[in-house]
Symmetry: C2
Subunit: 549 residues, 2 copies
Amino acid sequence: MAKSALHLARMSYQPKMPASLRGAVKVVEGAATESVSDREEIAAFFPHTYGLPLVSFLPGSEMKEYPAANVGVILSGGQAPGGHNVIAGLFDEMKALNAESRLFGFLMGPEGLIEHKYRELTAEVIDEYRNTGGFDMIGSGRTKLDKPEQFEAGLEILRELEIKALVIIGGDDSNTNACILAEYYASIGAGIQVIGCPKTIDGDLKNAQIEASFGFDTAAKVYSELIGNIQRDCNSARKYWHFIKLMGRSASHITLECALQTHPNICIISEEVEANNYFLDDVVTYIAETVVRRSEAGMDFGTVLIPEGLIEFLPAMRRLIKELNEFLSQNDAEFKLIKRSAQRVYITNKLSEENAALYRSLPADVAQQLIADRDPHGNVQVSLIATEKLLADMTAQKLAEWTEEGRFHGKFSTLTHFFGYEGRCAMPSNFDADYCYCLGRAAAILIAAGKTGYMASVKNLADPISEWAAGGVPMTMMMNMERRSGKEKPVIRKALVEMEGEPYRALREMRREWALSTEYVYPGPIQFFGPEAVSDSPTITLQLERTGR
Amino acid sequence: MAKSALHLARMSYQPKMPASLRGAVKVVEGAATESVSDREEIAAFFPHTYGLPLVSFLPGSEMKEYPAANVGVILSGGQAPGGHNVIAGLFDEMKALNAESRLFGFLMGPEGLIEHKYRELTAEVIDEYRNTGGFDMIGSGRTKLDKPEQFEAGLEILRELEIKALVIIGGDDSNTNACILAEYYASIGAGIQVIGCPKTIDGDLKNAQIEASFGFDTAAKVYSELIGNIQRDCNSARKYWHFIKLMGRSASHITLECALQTHPNICIISEEVEANNYFLDDVVTYIAETVVRRSEAGMDFGTVLIPEGLIEFLPAMRRLIKELNEFLSQNDAEFKLIKRSAQRVYITNKLSEENAALYRSLPADVAQQLIADRDPHGNVQVSLIATEKLLADMTAQKLAEWTEEGRFHGKFSTLTHFFGYEGRCAMPSNFDADYCYCLGRAAAILIAAGKTGYMASVKNLADPISEWAAGGVPMTMMMNMERRSGKEKPVIRKALVEMEGEPYRALREMRREWALSTEYVYPGPIQFFGPEAVSDSPTITLQLERTGR
């Protein structure tokens, strides 16, 4: 395979580690833990894996002998930079503990376990993927691993390969399922340990124990590079408003971090929109008012950052989508007979008065998107809605009205962007390369220590790496009960942007100035070499959250 | 202004230069030159600036005394990484030749000259912008500077500021106009020199004398970073075809360079489409056939690179657009009365049979785009057409037919991207930072040597910087006669991708393998530090063109 010069240079990068992960390790157990809430229910769901102690690693005095052990690994869900380094760290630590140990990768996500598709990950394979982006070493997939039949099918291949532990690298849902699997295998005495690893660029898998999910650092930096470049263009051409939507699912962590890195004129935070019960028109008015004020100061240009999940956080839109979903799933056959050009009027007549009014106010293409391209359950696919275009068009509409009323005298031209796939498989930053490698090594140590139902953890991430503290967190500790598909279920709590958190407070303090001045910051591309401040700084979110602790 | 860590680190970067630009310089004149064609006509248009000798700079033995001179500088047209460094190089060399010299920047492009808007560029201003992207130091604009009234309006402010030379940093059109301005000022004995600098990310301002326009290196590397990231995602998720459109106006240089850097499965080159007289359906069939073959090999995923200008290179589309333009500009009043939903049918009935058939075959949104959003002259705005979506949709349509016919059994899901604004204002790569700085210094030396009608030049760009050869090229030398707005005019010849050139040949040799294998290359982000192969390599285009010489 042809490799770029940087790819070749990165292959020999040796991830940095704290002392506790180099050489002999002492595994120290803390006090028993409790789940973040709903303790009785969670304990009832997880009789074998509830209440386990926190585990931390300290530098040990002597290398212990460990028996050889075969381990399986799965990449689950969306790609995040650094996944390959988790596997490399896992491999290296396994081999350091016993050179006879073997690592197997299940292919294309949990499906590989269920369907017995795997490859052995030898040193040759691992070396080809060190410090690279992507999940292509073994692929990933979105199959939900949550049914006993699947667990049993998996058990067959685990037994065949004499695998004693499974490492599942995934987001909150995948780790919830990893915990359910750990509990299941413990309950039947299968002798298979399950260890999770916190992955997701969305940054929504974090809590008192897990400071960050891996991939967030790199993805946010790639998007910030692009936003910075666009802002420099914006400030040079001085004639466009750029509406930039950013991946990140429900939570606005990515958008918030990018705003802190680049100082855009406007940054929408979904959680704030929901907390204030804003209507779509409130958001549009907020943008339009800033456009007017900048225009009055001679600046008919600017930037707006928009989180991917915004639509679902607008209570009125949520009500509309709910009614659309219900109506369309119940009247699918009839709806399919309606000509495309007549669909909008048809739907409008079927909706309740409030929702019909909102639906009527939407631009044609968004209105169409809301009723087309539904998922197999008949649900609207919110992530496909071009929110950036929706907001740009609605702002233009409002400003046209204000122009007629004499409230706006400027020009308003827009360009829209959506960044997501550009960052999910980027080469991991030094931070993510180091963090992931440490997570992998931690996972191997948890396995050697006989743990199951744990997530590998590395703390003090905003401090120098020498201060990083590795260990394991019982996954039940992060759980609460939530309603999913009409049932109360134990799940790892998703972290949304906190209105009282330091990152959001920093944004709120500065955004008034950002709106009216043009104080753009240009982060530039991720650097792997050069001064440490350039190549090794963690996200601003991590730095601010440390301040807040 | 808040600055990122990388921004701060880059401020102290000292661009590299060949020996001939450091210290004393000897200006050597070659033989008289001729234009690339239409010599008599060009000579007649430029009696004072035609036939000038090529100029090259050699290390000199003693520093000459130069009188202080005021100089003006203009950024013209679209942004390109490195513009600020041209100005920094110009400033530093002017000051080295005489510390009393002063530099003035005209604001927002040629308009600043005409409307007498300028700022003095002192060391304080210059230092704030060294090695940064964007044109925000003085802004840029697209006003065409080509009328005697404008030249006279400019002369007023040039005289007022006692400016003896004007440096115009722009693309082929801006430099053509710079030459016309040089000729005009020479013809009236105004005593004002005009020097051009080759700028454009599109890479279409190059010829036997000018090896590359600045900005091409950085922009192509930013886009290649993103394409590489998307390809890694594509190869991990293994379920999408990504259709990626790239800026670059008419020429496909950017797309070609990005393909050479990233090895996509499919790369469309506009010049090839035109040379083979392809129809839109030929391009779609070519894509669809590759999709089928990859699918048969188990790969329902891939990448397609598409040059921004493609539509205009499809002879059939060009005929359609021409008829649309003519019809709509002549029937604007009547057309405006047609309801939007009835426009398509209305237009189809007005077109000739061949064009009506093609128009009818286009997806609804593209058909709509072709008649909406016209420019002030009533012309279709081709650059606004979402070619990436057009090709994705039409390929899907064809594959749906082939599925019915039993010729295709795979899945085909698409995602589309357009990269342009992400790269025009990126921080200049070391190559562009060095090249631009050298161009600026060369411009200052040409001014000191009393030259006018020259473009600053640096050659041997694919060699180590010690081998770079700086000098000046008479702009008339690059000219030929072309039909513009119905008249024969002298213009700098635009360089399209050559079917016999090494870069295109390299693509043609490798693309069959790229189509069926998945041999993606992942260039990663531009590096400013680290091994030279990583931080300082020129584009593959430059390297291959050197081989071809």
